[in-house]
């Protein structure tokens, strides 16, 4: 039976996140972007909303079940407030959720409770690499099995909070397949590089990290010695990023509408000009259409449908185009004022472009 209505519980979560996203994340976003820093108490407050805790089963000290649909709803709202803040709050999920999805029982028991029990701590993951045609299924970083250890070699980028990380999941190429390895803090051979300077997301600390003959016990291979299926992690990440792209789009649209209804040109409001109104109609229509695609992909993941990976890929493909189109138009609708950093639309346009590059920077 089709239904397009979130459950009551989901709606309550959405409302709570929306308040935080607007009152806290949005309010702090510009300063955070300019200063290159997100205040710890801001991130902690978002963490305490308990989204990750609520999507972790009791067996691992959480109090709920994972749902990609709920995740998509939550991440859209967070990103509606501010993308950098949203990603910061959810960084520990980059470590915990893949373990929940694909880890061995022992790994779940050992690694998940410390993440979700405590205050926000920088548990993180390293997937991306600095090359134009980066492909999560064809990594340059290698893993080789030598007896009962795994040896990692390579260079990662876009690793959030790497400098302070408690532990990280490192993805590497093991005989042609991407596999994750749990790498504890202060492992020999792991070197944190410079903080990266990017087109957007400047509030969020991203680092390059290099791995030189890093020896990790084989039991730290995600899923245990036999490994795991990487595809489901990619799908969960694609849906998460797509949902966030919808959140950014939606923020830009609402801001543009408010501005266009207020500003006078040639004796009428900007919004009364068809050239503008039609752009707004298309922005709203596209967001609504692609949002449903994201929801469906999330729903397929939850239902274990065979095509969920493909659908998640399509959803992100649609969402990355939508967010670029919508944020660009939001700047256009504000005219020259859209180009000035007093308004957030230029930042959203920069953040929006990022979805073409982001891989694995969020997960549901």
């Amino acid at each position: 039976m089709y239904s397009f209505k979130p459950s009551e519980e989901q709606q309550m979560l959405i409302d709570a996140i929306k308040r935080y996203a607007m009152d806290d994340l949005r309010a702090a976003a510009r300063e955070a972007e300019e200063e290159g820093h997100l205040p710890a108490d801001l991130v902690e407050k978002g963490w305490e909303l308990g989204y990750l805790q609520a999507s972790t089963p009791e067996a691992y000290d959480g109090f709920g079940e994972r749902s990609a649909v709920t995740g998509a709803l939550a991440l859209e709202e967070l990103a509606y407030g501010d993308l950098a803040g949203a990603m910061a709050v959810m960084t520990p999920a980059l470590f915990a959720t893949p373990i929940l999805l694909a880890g061995s029982e022992a790994q779940k028991k050992a690694y998940i409770p410390p993440v979700i029990e405590m205050e926000w701590k920088p548990f993180t993951a390293a997937l991306m690499e600095q090359k134009f045609d980066f492909d999560p299924n064809d990594l340059t970083t290698t893993a080789t099995i030598e007896g009962d250890t795994i040896v990692i070699n390579g260079e990662k980028s876009y690793v959030p909070y790497a400098a302070d990380a408690e532990a990280m999941l490192v993805y590497a190429n093991l005989n042609g397949a991407t596999q994750a390895v749990i790498v504890p803090k202060e492992t020999t051979g792991v070197a944190i590089g410079e903080r990266q300077k990017l087109l957007g997301l400047n509030a969020l600390p991203f680092y390059t990290v290099s791995f030189q003959n890093v020896h990790i016990p084989l039991e730290n291979r995600l899923g245990g010695t036999e490994g795991h299926d990487f595809a489901q992690i990619v799908a969960a990440s694609n849906v998460a990023l797509a949902a966030m792209a919808i959140g950014v789009s939606s923020a830009a649209l609402d801001y543009a509408i408010e501005y266009a209804k207020d500003r006078d040109v040639f004796g009428v409001k900007v919004a009364q000009k068809q050239a503008i109104a039609f752009m707004i109609a298309e922005m709203g229509t596209t967001i609504e259409a692609i949002r449903l695609l994201v929801w469906e992909a999330a729903w397929m993941i939850d239902e274990g449908k065979p095509d969920s990976s493909k659908q998640a890929y399509l959803a992100l493909s649609g969402a990355m185009d939508a967010v670029m189109m919508v944020t660009d138009r939001a700047v256009q609708i504000l005219g020259g004022h859209g180009y000035i950093r007093e308004h957030p639309v230029e930042m959203w346009m920069r953040n929006g472009r990022g979805f073409a590059a982001f891989n694995g920077l969020a997960i549901v």
Partner: protein, 414 residues
């Protein structure tokens, strides 16, 4: 609870409709297109029998027959079911779909705003031996998008208690079949008080064989050629007083007109369903042709590694699926009595856009093969465009969406 599972009854019906589309439509699709004004009687007679045996005018959205006692606990899915049927039939052939008896905009208007009396009088004919057709005539030579500019008039002759209609209507879908080929009817929009603007606009049922009502022209079109599109002239055409739909007195308000607009909340997503049907046919064909030639779409690769061809196909799939979901959502709202004019127009705008993009791109991608009439692709390219035109052009529907998003009245954005 968000749910994308196709309801079982819809899935079952879908299988049946697919058989019809595959066996009764596709094999004659090309022929009906080439013969332009020929009528696909075999298909029509088949559909007539099938629809009758299914218990009635299932093509008319709001047949409240489906509500039996004890069904309460299932949320209504009438419009969603209709969307699936229309999508599948348009996948079969968008022009032939428009030839299905008893399921067009005329009967929808009667169903939406007729009295129980009128519904019985006008709708029962669809259940007879022979197929009967209906049509809706709003557009005039000088009045298309701007429906307030219609000039056709209806004057009450108190002596005989008859309405006297005068004027010309154009682009009436299925007008030929409704008035000439069967004992059908046309729902005609006319003004009972030219000074009252939209407040004076009413719709009237004009039955086949009424003196003074004449089909004067059949259009030759870009696509949907199996469907007739005619001009109708009314010259002192007299119809019984009871043939007016809605109130016979002029009101300050535009309630009558708004009633007509409200039916758009269901019919626009139905047009969107047609668009999605054509789009799906196209995407399936493209993928088949590519597969035959050993081209595989590598989902999951970063864009930088995809070929341009793969990117195009992936874009098509994104557009197709999101358009369908948007359409379904707008009709799910209609089924659940949630006010949906914004979503209905969004579905129409988006689906009308994407089917045009998809079919145009598909002809491009298949090169010399795409351009021939050996495949149905070039036909779908022609058929697709109508969905961006009728039931409100893309522009008119963008305006509806924008007004709803901005909270504007008609006077603030026109």
């Amino acid at each position: 609870m968000i749910d994308f599972e196709t309801p079982k009854p819809i899935e079952q019906l879908n299988n049946v409709v697919e058989t019809v589309a595959v066996n009764m439509m596709r094999p004659v699709s090309r022929e009906m297109d080439e013969k332009e004004h020929a009528i696909p009687w075999d298909f029509i007679n088949f559909m007539h029998t099938a629809v009758k045996s299914m218990g009635g005018t299932s093509m008319t959205p709001d047949s409240d027959k489906s509500k039996k006692d004890g069904e309460e606990k299932h949320p209504p899915i009438g419009y969603q079911r209709l969307a699936h049927m229309v999508e599948m039939l348009a996948w079969g052939d968008a022009g032939m779909y428009l030839c299905i008896p008893g399921g067009m905009l005329g009967s929808a208007a009667v169903a939406a705003s007729g009295t129980p009396e009128q519904k019985k009088r006008f709708l029962s004919r669809f259940m007879g031996e022979k197929p009967v057709f209906d049509a809706m005539a709003m557009t005039e030579p000088q009045a298309g998008s701007d429906t307030s500019a219609i000039r056709s008039s209806a004057v009450l002759d108190e002596a005989t208690n008859e309405w006297v209609l005068n004027g010309e209507k154009i682009f009436v879908t299925a007008g030929q079949k409704a008035l000439i080929e069967s004992d059908g009817f046309v729902v005609v929009w006319a003004t009972i008080d030219p000074a009252a603007g939209r407040g004076g606009m009413r719709s009237f049922v004009v039955e086949a064989g009424t003196p003074g009502c004449k089909v004067t022209k059949q259009e030759h079109k870009l696509g949907i050629r199996a469907s007739d599109t005619v001009s109708i002239v009314f010259q002192d055409c007299r119809i019984p007083f009871e043939n007016i739909l809605g109130s016979p007195t002029v009101e300050k308000s535009t309630k009558g007109f708004k009633g007509a607009m409200a039916t758009f909340d269901a019919t626009r997503p139905i047009i969107a369903s047609q668009a999605v049907g054509i789009a799906r046919a196209t995407v399936e064909l493209i993928k088949e042709e590519l597969a035959k030639n050993g081209v595989e779409i590598r989902y999951g690769l970063p864009r930088q590694k995809l070929t341009s061809l793969e990117r195009d196909v992936i874009d098509m799939e994104v557009m197709l699926r999101s358009a369908w979901l948007l359409t379904l959502k707008s009709l799910w709202m209609a089924d659940n009595k949630i006010h949906n004019p914004k979503e209905a127009s969004m579905a129409k705008v988006y689906a009308g856009d994407i089917v045009v993009k998809i079919t145009q791109k598909a002809v491009e991608l298949l090169g010399p093969l795409g351009y021939t009439r050996e495949l149905l692709l070039e036909k779908w390219f022609r058929d697709a465009k109508i969905t961006d035109l009728y039931e409100g052009t893309g522009q008119i529907n963008r305006m509806v969406v924008a007004r709803n998003m901005l909270g504007y009245r008609g006077s603030q954005l026109r």
